[in-house]
Structure formats: structure tokens, C-alpha cells
Amino acid sequence: MAGSTHASLSAKAPAAVPGARKGRRFSPWQEAWRRFRRHKMALFSAFALFLVVFGVLAGPFLWRVPINEIDFAAKLQGPSWAHPMGTDDLGQDLLSRLIYGGRISIAVGVAAMIVAIFVGMLVGALAGMASGGLDAALMWLTDLFLSLPQLPLLLLVIYLFREPVKGVLGVEGGAFILIVGVIGATRWMAAARLVRAQFLSLREKEFVEAARALGASRMRQVMMHILPNALGPVIVVATIDIAAAIIAESTLSFLGLGFPSDVPTWGSVLRDAKDYLDIAPHWALFPGGLIFITVLAINFIGDGLRDALDPRRVL
């Protein structure tokens, strides 16, 4: 630590800052990036995730086979030059279906994470700053949501609300909003607890007290001093939430409660493949593998971020 460096006895402060490299200085975020880079697995995962995301975004421009071109002559074929990932029981090209499905799966994952983190931060920040009655009430709410069995709840909500939402927002849009909302609404609790705990400890910190002594409003204390310091662990939870939301969407699609059956997502392709596992294993392996790689990569990135953003860790 810088505190152990020698200092002169004179009243003048030493001109050179010990510990700082000449010419190059690091903000806390740059410092985190430096540490993240040392996490080889996380770096590799970030690269893999980038490839997947780039693939599903740019894929349709490079691989122009339509997702719903039925060709019974080519059904249940294994990988070939014409169909790199094979075909399904209707002879539809799996690569283009998985590219399209990946867009939906990843969009659902990111959107559900944003909903979950937003709700979680709001609840956690309110509880952490309020203390007393509001804090207790919000934490009871959090405990209540934690004790709900997630999957039956998801099924029930989607079963009940699919038709009304579809009427308002259209088939695909309705399904997207509903799935994102439902996954987000059942996954915000971890973030809420985390943010509350961070707020409770940070608001007693001396630098927050100093801001209060300077006359900073509560809003300023939160936005300038508490929230930026609480963000590290929240970012870690957010990445892992993306992975969990992708899994949740796949589960829903697998159970037939996600998007309409003609819209491919990674989960629904997997569901369609389950009856042909013995004659066409490639059909299940490719979507399964994509879910696996994406989720694993995101989790490793989360791991790397946790190490990178924890200031107590010396790397």
C-alpha cells in the first residue's frame, strides 16, 4: 500500500506520488480492466460471447437461407455444405433458425436482466436508504418473491396473460414483453438484497458523511457517492442474470409456453428436437451447445468481473 512508503520529515508534502507509474495513471475502471485481462478464462469467454453475439447479429446478412423454407426432400439431414448444422423434420435449415433464435434468446436475456436489475436496484436502494418501516416492508416483499416457486409461477402467469397481452402487442411482441416481464419480475430479488446491503454499509462510510457535512442532498449522496461504489457487485449479478434469463427462456420455450411455435428460439428448437434424439442428434446438439457456450461464457465473464471489481483483491 502507498501508506508504507517513506516520507520526509519536512512539512512539505513529497512531490512525487509513490505507487503511481510515470506518465500512465489508472482510474478505478481502468484498473478493473487491467485485472480482468489477467483472468484468461474470462477473456476467452468474452471473445467467445462476442463471436456468438456477432454471429447472431450479422448472420442473416451472411447466411441468407430463410428460416421457414420447407423442403421434405432434405429433412433430418446431418451437417453438410448446404446445411452446415443440418435440417429438422420439415427440412428447414437449422443454421438460419439458430441464428434467428439466438437473436431472440440473447435479446430476452439482456432485456430480462435490465428489468431485474432495475427493479432490484430500485427496491434495494429504497430499502437501504429508508431503513425503518419501509425497509422492513420492502425486504418482506423480497422474501415473499424469493419463496415463490419460480417455474409454476411462470407457467401460471403466461397461461393467464398470454392471450390478453397478445391482443394488445401482437403475437411476437406480446410474447417478448410477457416473457421478459415475467423473468425479470422473478429474478430481481438477488440484486435488491445485494444493493440494500451495499447501501447499508456505504451510507455509514466516512466519505458519505463528508458529503453530508458539505451539505450534499440525499439524491447527490446516492448518485455521486453510494451508487458508484455499489455498482461492482451489481454488474457481476447482472451478467449472471443474463445467463439465467437465457436458461429460463429456453425452459419456457421447451415447455411450449414461450414464443409461438413457428418462431424459433434456442429453447423451442431444442423442444422440437427431443423426439428425434436417436435419429437426428445434431438437431438437439447445436441449440444445446449454443445455450451451453453462451451461458458458460457469460458466467465466466461474471467471475472475471467479480475478481476485477473487488478492490480488496490484489492481482
Binding site: 501508506g3 489508472f26 466516512e206
Partner: protein
């Protein structure tokens, strides 16, 4: 007491509730500050000393209203601090500042030094433009002995002594009249302690500041204080001009504290007064005089009667039934 008072504290109390049981009932009460009174004159430095946990820091924070006191009066420049709210309280923040003990915890690690020192200027609108703000920050950094280019660095790039200087610059930004120094040198190396104390003295002269200097170390306080107040278990037991307190301490607790201060002369032999036992629990402070459980001169009635601060010599106040 004198007329030129900047701050006067009367019977200040702060009780922390210890909650427990089914509905978070208050089961017990920590008497952190238990009836503290003192005055600070303009340009003066009042040293506030006592063991850890005796309520020194709580007293300092209550004066600034960083902690809401349970009862008591605080008058700053004739205005009642306890009744202030909203705009008046914000205005008070410009006149009273605080310097913290731990230079590692008192600076936001995510802000640059410029943002930390400039925050007060932003909050109170003391700079009209970005440029004026930066100029003022540079000026403040130079005042506390730092370089202008330190402005763009982050706290983790500095040593403990430099960080404390940043904290001092932040407090100075609003041009306060009173600064509560909450053990500002306790976390620093001895060599750095001297630098920071000298800096505080220079600043006091330059900006005619008044200090409430909290410390647990009498030798540090002796150097900087005009007067010293000694606290024990939430109460002030003795207040006297610095020299007077060191030469002729009246309260037995002050005597014991002073006998623990090392003298830089090995030939001088001094009787060391060892206090028996530990500081009693502030949840159940002893009855009567809080000090009677450890006092070498305690008599039976000390447990019954609360001693009050009385002026035994001009300017020398003591709260003991049998001394002074």
C-alpha cells in the same frame, strides 16, 4: 465564560437505542454523550481527549448535526443549531466542517481529487464556471501542500498523509469558521503526524480558523490546543487552559491520563498512576460520578451524587467532589 464565543454546547446528550425483541423494541440505551457542556472562542483550539468509546467523536458529529443529538443546546454564532433545517442547515455547512480520522475511508475511491475537493464548490454554487472551479481547486491543493496536477488523480494513488491533506482541502473549500478535527492524525505515521499538525496550525493562522480537536493522545493535543477538555464515559470531567491542565491537573482521571504521557527525558522519574479495571459499559454507566469505580480517591458518597463542573480556579473547571 467569555463573550467572544463562536460555539457553545450545553448539556448535549446522545443516547443510542439498542433494539431487540419481537418488534424492535428499545431494550437498552447506550449513553454515548451524557450531558456535555463547553464553549469555544473565536480562533481558539479546544482539545477534546478521552479513551476510545468515551463519546468524543459522537460529540463532534452532534455539533455538526451529522448525528441527531437526543437533547441539549448547540449555539453557533448566536444561532440555535438544533432548530435548523433546510436552507439554514445548508448554510451552516459552509461555516462548520469536519476532518476525519481514517484518510482511507474518508475519500470516495471513484472520484478524482479535483471532484472531491470541488464538490463543496458545486453544492454551494461557489464557482461560476468550470474554469473558476478548477482554479479554486488548484489553489486549495496548493494551500495544503499538494501539486496542481494531483487534481486528476484518484485517492488510491496517494499516501495516508497526502490523503489527509486532500481531506483538509475539502473541508477548507467552503471557507469554514469552525473545523471539527476528528482524530485527524491518529491513523498516520508519527513523522507524518507532525507534518499534518503543523499544516493545521499554519491554516489556523492564515484563515483564522477555530478548531475542535478530538484526540485520544494527550501529547498530540498539548501541542495544538489553547484549552483542553477531558471526557470520561460521555461526560466532561475537566476543562482548563492547556498549560494549566498539564501542570496542575485536578481530576484524578486527568492525572492518570497525564501520567501515561511519555516524557522525552530518561532521567525524569514520575509516579505512574495505573487505573484499575476497564471502562464501564456505557449502557449501564455507574451511578453518581461515572469515574468512582476506578477512582483512587473515591469515597462512598461518590456513587450517590453527580459531580457538576465548577470553576475551581479562573478558567479551570473540574467535576469532582473532592478535588479543586
Amino acid at each position: 465564560m467569555g463573550k467572544d464565543q463562536l460555539l457553545s454546547v450545553r448539556d448535549l446528550r446522545k443516547h443510542f437505542a439498542v433494539k431487540g425483541g419481537l418488534f424492535s423494541r428499545e431494550v437498552e440505551r447506550v449513553h454515548a454523550v451524557d450531558g456535555v457542556s463547553f464553549d469555544i472562542g473565536k480562533g481558539e483550539t479546544l482539545g477534546l481527549v478521552g479513551e476510545s468509546g468515551c463519546g468524543k467523536s459522537t460529540t463532534g458529529r452532534c455539533i455538526l448535526r451529522l448525528i441527531e443529538p437526543s437533547s441539549g443546546e448547540v449555539t453557533f454564532q448566536g444561532a440555535d443549531v438544533m432548530r435548523m433545517s433546510g436552507e439554514a442547515l445548508r448554510a451552516l455547512r459552509r461555516d462548520m466542517q469536519i476532518i476525519f480520522q481514517d484518510p482511507y475511508a474518508s475519500l470516495n475511491p471513484r472520484l478524482t481529487v479535483g471532484a472531491i475537493v470541488g464538490e463543496a464548490l458545486e453544492i454551494h454554487g461557489l464557482a461560476k464556471s468550470r474554469r473558476e472551479l478548477e482554479e479554486r481547486v488548484v489553489q486549495l491543493l496548493e494551500t495544503v501542500g499538494l501539486q496542481p496536477d494531483h487534481m486528476r488523480r484518484f485517492p488510491h494513488e496517494f499516501s495516508g498523509g497526502q490523503r489527509q491533506r486532500i481531506g483538509i482541502a475539502r473541508a477548507l473549500a467552503v471557507e469554514p469558521k469552525l473545523i471539527v478535527c476528528d482524530e485527524p492524525v491518529s491513523a498516520l505515521d508519527v513523522s507524518i503526524q507532525a507534518q499534518v499538525i503543523n499544516l493545521l496550525e499554519d491554516l489556523q493562522e492564515k484563515f483564522s480558523l477555530t478548531y475542535l480537536f478530538i484526540a485520544h493522545d494527550l501529547s498530540v493535543v498539548e501541542h495544538i490546543s489553547t484549552r483542553i477538555a477531558v471526557m470520561y464515559l460521555g461526560r466532561v470531567v475537566e476543562i482548563a487552559p492547556s498549560r494549566d491542565l498539564y501542570d496542575t491537573p485536578l481530576h484524578p482521571y486527568t492525572e492518570a491520563l497525564l501520567s501515561a504521557v511519555p516524557i522525552p527525558d530518561p532521567t525524569v522519574k514520575r509516579k505512574r498512576i495505573m487505573l484499575q479495571g476497564d471502562v464501564p459499559n456505557p449502557i449501564h454507566p455507574p451511578s453518581g460520578c461515572h469515574f468512582h469505580t476506578r477512582c483512587p480517591i473515591a469515597r462512598p458518597d461518590c456513587a450517590q451524587r453527580d459531580p457538576v463542573l465548577r470553576e475551581s480556579r479562573p478558567g479551570h473547571w473540574v467535576a469532582c467532589h473532592y478535588r479543586g
